[in-house]
Amino acid sequence: MMSQQRYLDDGALVRLRGVSCRYDRDTVLDRIDLDIGRDQFTGIVGPSGSGKTTLLKVLLGTMVVAAGQVRMAPGLRVGYVPQVETVDWNFPVTVAQCVLMARTRGRVLPWPSASERRDTSAVLDRLGLGGFADRHIRRLSGGQQQRVFLARALMGDPQLLVMDEPTSGVDATTRHDVLHLLDDLNRAGTAIVLTTHDLNGIASHLPHLVCLNTTVVATGTPRQVLTPEVLERTFGARMEVLEHAGMPVVIDEHAHLHHRVVPLRKNAS
């Protein structure tokens, strides 16, 4: 089915200009300028507390901004994949029921229609969860739980997929699978924005990165932004960057510093 694709005048899906966000008196995002294009695959990297999740909430339209302008393409369909730790996996729902939540606004009756059942089946098959529809969500591995969230997001046929740490807590094989899956989705026309802590496993494989520490420190390809200078300004720690198979590899000898936010200096250049 062809869906009507509508964009902002230059083809962007979302455009942020001078966006600032605060929790009480704490500024968590400061004068952010960012465009999300229709075919973009962007990773947002930064230390804990740098505003990554808040930035995602701005893109989702669930965060009230304190200043600046947020413009979204009319009728933009956004799919959101939160961190798996954000929900109670003991909650009484099956995999299929969880995926069907994406259709909450489509139908009043509690039980699924025949077409909803077909769509659920198709998206679960596509993500390798075909045999899990009636399984309780507690009885899934971390990687499978991640894919259930992704399946739920894909049920809404999103133009933009927003993911918060999609590979945290999963093993290397699952991480590899998730990356391949996202790459396929992106090639099929879905814009993707994700946050990650994993500079070598995820960020260096993405086509475009945003380095964030309350404000946008740098944007560009991994080769452009995964440099000792940018990483120091983003994470507050000196990191060595080597090259392996044409890709930057970050040697982080101060991993513990990732948990600290670099204080934002006023009027910093």
């Binding site: 929790y23 939160p82 729902v93 939540m101 909450t104 509690p110 309780h136 507690r138």
Partner: protein, 279 residues
């Protein structure tokens, strides 16, 4: 057999039985939301808050349903509002608002004196004052809530399981939360006369927790919790008459008994299911 049927000869008992049974189902239904959101303490707190409104309306000569109702709804919305601010946790918000309201109720009764048996009835429950109007009120309320849960099932499920993604998907989670707080306050108010403020929390928590031990399905949990709540109300009221004890403790003890049986029978599987509902 005659002994079992004898209380049905009395209108006050029949009214009390209908109210306890229907209110049990209603509290069981609402309790699913309360328990899955980890807000079990809220039923306890809100019923105590409503006691403040009950005391004030009794002393002012205002209809207690109206007075305590307005008070309860205001407390519920206040708790909901405070909880949505990031700086104060739900438990602290409930603790502050509801105990202050309960204390105010006690203080008002202490200063202006207790009026008849209403003080004890409000605390521990009594079926003596249950009239036809109360029966109609609770039945109508239950039909409205059941209808709202049926029609809003998908919204309720999504907002309860994953409020962040629900909000991002266009579900009005704030409205769902406010509506559920409103339903909770109204349910407590309607049940207060039979159960008393000190025991209402059990009718919210026990049926939903037992239902959770028995099923991994949200829809079945709603139906089971309503059924268990109704059973507790019906059996508890009959025991109350036969053993000559107050209706509130009797209903709660039946619920506790069912909980103990199901807890034992379902074993580790039931406990694993219910593990997430303790908060």
């Amino acid at each position: 057999m005659d002994q079992l049927l004898r209380p049905f000869e009395f209108e006050f008992f029949r009214n009390g039985l209908i109210v306890a049974t229907v209110a049990g189902a209603l509290c069981g239904l609402v309790g699913v939301y309360v328990v899955l959101k980890g807000m079990s303490y809220i039923g306890h707190g809100l019923s105590h808050a409503i006691f403040g409104g009950f005391a004030a309306s009794a002393l002012l000569g205002v209809n207690y349903v109206l007075g305590a109702g307005v008070w309860g709804v205001a407390s519920a919305l206040m708790i909901n509002g405070v909880t949505r601010r990031r700086t104060i946790g739900a438990d602290a918000a409930i603790g502050v608002i509801t105990t202050a309201s309960f204390a105010l109720g006690l203080a008002l009764f202490a200063v202006f004196g207790r009026r008849g048996s209403s003080f004890d009835a409000a605390l521990f429950g009594s079926i003596l004052g249950v009239g036809t109007a109360d029966v109609v009120a609770i039945v109508v309320l239950t039909i409205i809530v059941a209808g709202a849960v049926f029609l809003g099932y998908r919204h309720l499920l999504f907002a309860t399981f994953d409020p962040d993604v629900a909000a991002a998907s266009g579900v009005r989670t704030g409205l769902v939360d406010a509506a559920m707080m409103l339903v909770l306050a109204t349910s407590i108010l309607a049940t207060m006369q039979v159960l008393g403020v000190t025991l209402i929390a059990a009718t919210l928590v026990i049926p939903a927790t037992v239902a959770r031990m028995l099923t991994d399905s949200f829809s079945r949990m709603l139906i089971l919790a309503a059924g268990i709540g109704a059973t507790c109300g019906f059996v508890g009221m009959n025991l109350s008459y036969q053993l000559d004890i107050q209706s509130g403790p009797s209903i709660v003890l039946v619920g506790a008994g069912i909980f103990a049986v199901v807890f034992t029978i379902t074993g580790t599987r039931g406990r694993a299911r219910a593990a997430g509902v303790a908060g």
